[in-house]
Symmetry: C2
Subunit: 142 residues, 2 copies
DNA sequence: GCTACATCCTCTAGCGACTAGAGGAGCAAG
DNA sequence: CTTGCTCCTCTAGTCGCTAGAGGATGTAGC
């Protein structure tokens, strides 16, 4: 029965950097852990699990505000999960939109690069396309 | 022969917001235009073309620093275009990586959402997957 | 006990690319 | 001459951290 691990070990265990952990505490995602006599944070299993949750959610691109809501839901498991569901759906929609935009960008960049004759800037396709949107395939990127 | 348009019209013409145009001037992407007696900026064709260039480059996701280089190149058209080429290639690589990551995320989010039984949080798949990375298909997202 | 060194603490400031807002001046139309 | 729009400068805020200063605490070896 020990009373917890220091922040450095929590960082190693979770893959979240030490200052980031303190930042999560500061913005209220992670509750303040107990401290040692010497004022050092001691993280127990509950904190470590919450930290893992946060990290995973951040990896999936959820914003801090969304994670706050998701954590609230996790704390009250009797509620309907539809808020969680809709947060995830919104996130999915966002990801899909990004993919679509980036795919269009990719095509445009590829066209730019493929058309480059490796001469001087004067007849560089990259510069030309940037200067003249009309020379661009997709008028609606971004 | 007129001497230029005010910033609001430049904004409408370019699709760049007024404060953003001023910001570009501040960080040195857009040269300071002449002013009227009443101290208002007046943009001529040269400025508007440069603004369009910047906008298009930003839409393609180039960073301000990269755009600075690209504009320098455009100003000296006798040089080799290989710096422009390599900036564009780096950008393409970045876009490709993002697409790959987002595609993995999309799959994970989809799985989450599809598994959601729309009951309570207690057995919500969304919350569960976030809490337990082991339940996640791709351990290497992001 | 003493020294070295790692780890921890708080606090402030910086990143990129804007965006928002305060507080005021200029200008065109009625 | 007033209304209402556009414009000006300036500062501060956004997001999610990250870096660094300056100091306290903890641990291992001698």
């Amino acid at each position: 029965m020990h009373d917890g691990v220091p922040i450095g070990e929590a960082a190693r265990a979770s893959g979240v950097k030490v200052p980031t952990i303190r930042y999560y505490e500061q913005v209220g995602l992670l509750p303040e852990p107990p401290r040692t006599e010497g004022n050092r944070r001691l993280y127990g299993g509950r904190h470590l699990r919450r930290l893992a949750f946060i990290r995973h959610a951040r990896e999936l691109g959820f914003e801090v505000e969304a994670i706050r809501t998701l954590l609230d839901l996790q704390d009250n498991p009797g509620q309907s999960c539809s808020p969680a569901d809709s947060i995830a759906r919104l996130r999915l929609k966002d990801v899909e939109e990004r993919i679509a935009r980036l795919t269009a960008l990719k095509a445009e960049l590829q066209r730019m690069i493929d058309g480059c004759s490796h001469g001087t800037v004067a007849d560089c396709r990259v510069i030309e396309v940037l200067a003249d949107h009309g020379a661009c395939a997709s008028p609606t990127h971004r």
